[in-house]
């Protein structure tokens, strides 16, 4: 607009520079989107869990829970978070332990309907049976049901923590031939489940 001043080119780089920038952008996108997952896939997702080690789940303090597993169990660290839950393996058995923050005060029966729907989200094609009452090693009442799929079998169990505001969901799945092993693993986890708040 000012006559005697050299004017900046009206935006835009040369076609070559634009192509260069486009390549940079696409490279950054590809590098981040594919690079990290590929690198992650190359690192083994398995970590030995010390026998009889207590795995704490949830926030620190009374509103947490813990489970103990025996020898031979491994954890998948990429899918585990002490605040939210763990993904564990023992032979053919896969165990998912989740910490659930409830939006009110509940008993196990009150959360089962919601858990059944959540189970459908993460385990398509696997049906849950009718829930039955189970008692944890600490004497707390919970619910457990069998899970059956075309090639998979196992159990889901749920226990509400003593204040009623959080719950622990345990899903144990294995190939159908290892149904008994899955049932034993479920029993082991239910027996080892501890709520610090219940011990007070």
């Amino acid at each position: 607009m000012v006559a005697d001043q050299p004017r900046l080119p009206p935006g835009g780089a040369s076609p070559r520079a634009r192509l260069r920038w486009l390549l940079i952008v696409v490279s950054v996108m590809v590098l981040l989107t594919a690079g990290w997952p590929l690198l992650n896939a190359r690192v083994a997702d398995s970590q030995q869990v010390a026998a009889e080690a207590a795995l704490r789940i949830g926030p620190s303090g009374p509103n947490s829970a813990s489970v103990r597993v025996g020898p031979g169990w491994t954890m998948r660290p990429a899918e585990s978070d002490p605040r939210q839950g763990y993904l564990l393996r023992h032979g053919a058995v896969t165990v998912s332990i989740g910490y659930l923050t409830l939006t009110g005060t509940y008993h196990a029966a009150g959360i089962w309907g919601g858990l059944r729907r959540v189970f459908r989200v993460s385990n398509p094609g696997i049906r849950l049976g009718t829930p039955a009452a189970v008692i944890s090693g600490q004497g707390l009442a919970g619910l457990s049901a069998t899970a059956t799929g075309a090639r998979t079998a196992g159990n889901m169990a749920a226990f509400v923590g003593p204040p009623g505001t959080y719950a622990i969901q345990i899903v144990v799945l294995a190939p159908r031939y290892a149904r008994q092993v899955a049932a034993a693993a479920t029993l082991l986890l239910i027996r080892s489940l501890r709520f610090p708040a219940a011990a007070r």
Partner: protein, 341 residues
Amino acid sequence: MSAVLLCIFGAGVVITEFARLLLVFPQAGALAVMLELPLVLIGFALLRRLRPTRAPALPWSAAAVVWGATAAAGCALLANQGLAGLWAKSEGVKFASDWSASLTAPLNEELLKLCGVVMVALAAPLAVNGPLDGLVYGALTGLGFQAVENVTYALNAILMSGGTSPDRVVLNSALLRVGTAGLGSHWTMTAVAGAGAGYLILHTRRRRLIRDASRAGVTGRQPAAGPGYGLLVAAAACLAASLGMHLLFDAPALAIELKVAVNFALVAIFYLLLSTAFLHRARESLAAAVAAGLVDAADAATVLSRRRRRRELRQVHLPADRDKLRERQQDILTELDAEAA
């Protein structure tokens, strides 16, 4: 074309990731999306007002939001899963639980969102002239990302609450993400990063000007500021600041209100500095143009203010004359946008 493909890919990733959850919890899913609409609409209108003289072009503003909501959000889902997994495997689950988000999201998300600002600048060279334009387009990209991230948080909250009261969980999540964290979330970080892209573009343009001038043997007055490294340093500083803001936002053990206040204050101060400097340069440019007889004094008195431009347009009764005046106003503003950037 590549931008469109990346947006389609990103949208596909987000939809695939949450398709099953949406099928099982359709009502809560719809609620999660609906609750973000006011944020997007109001945010879109407000952020476009940030440009002092006139709003950025509507299609490119929308494109920035769409990039943030699709390409950036979808790619970030994959990138974050990959890097977060690496943190957990290399440093242990306890460390990852505390620090994975703050060490993963800033790097991946800020770069992916920033690519949107660069894409807009590549597709529409007149749209991003300098740091202020970059800030606005960055904020719009961040807004799109923020809205989709809020939806994904709400949907994940359904799972983490065991599917009990899914509607209430979604509502709580939206209230927290929009009501408490909304003012200092992604739009602030990407606004700062976008300003960095604006500095980089300004540097490129000034370098090109000097190169063209030396090729043509022009010996006249040089632009007030040569390219030097100042603008590059500013660009790098903006990117670093956006990463720092994001790290702070995701850092554990700090109150969310403090994080929001810091991010909002940073972007507000930065915006005030940039817009004041822009208006100062625009007024100088305009005064010089009036002195050179290139712009009428009457036009110069009104052109920088939206309200005064509208009032001047209302006073012209003939539609053809009004169109001419509007065109003249826009021509002056286009020149000013480039010169005052």
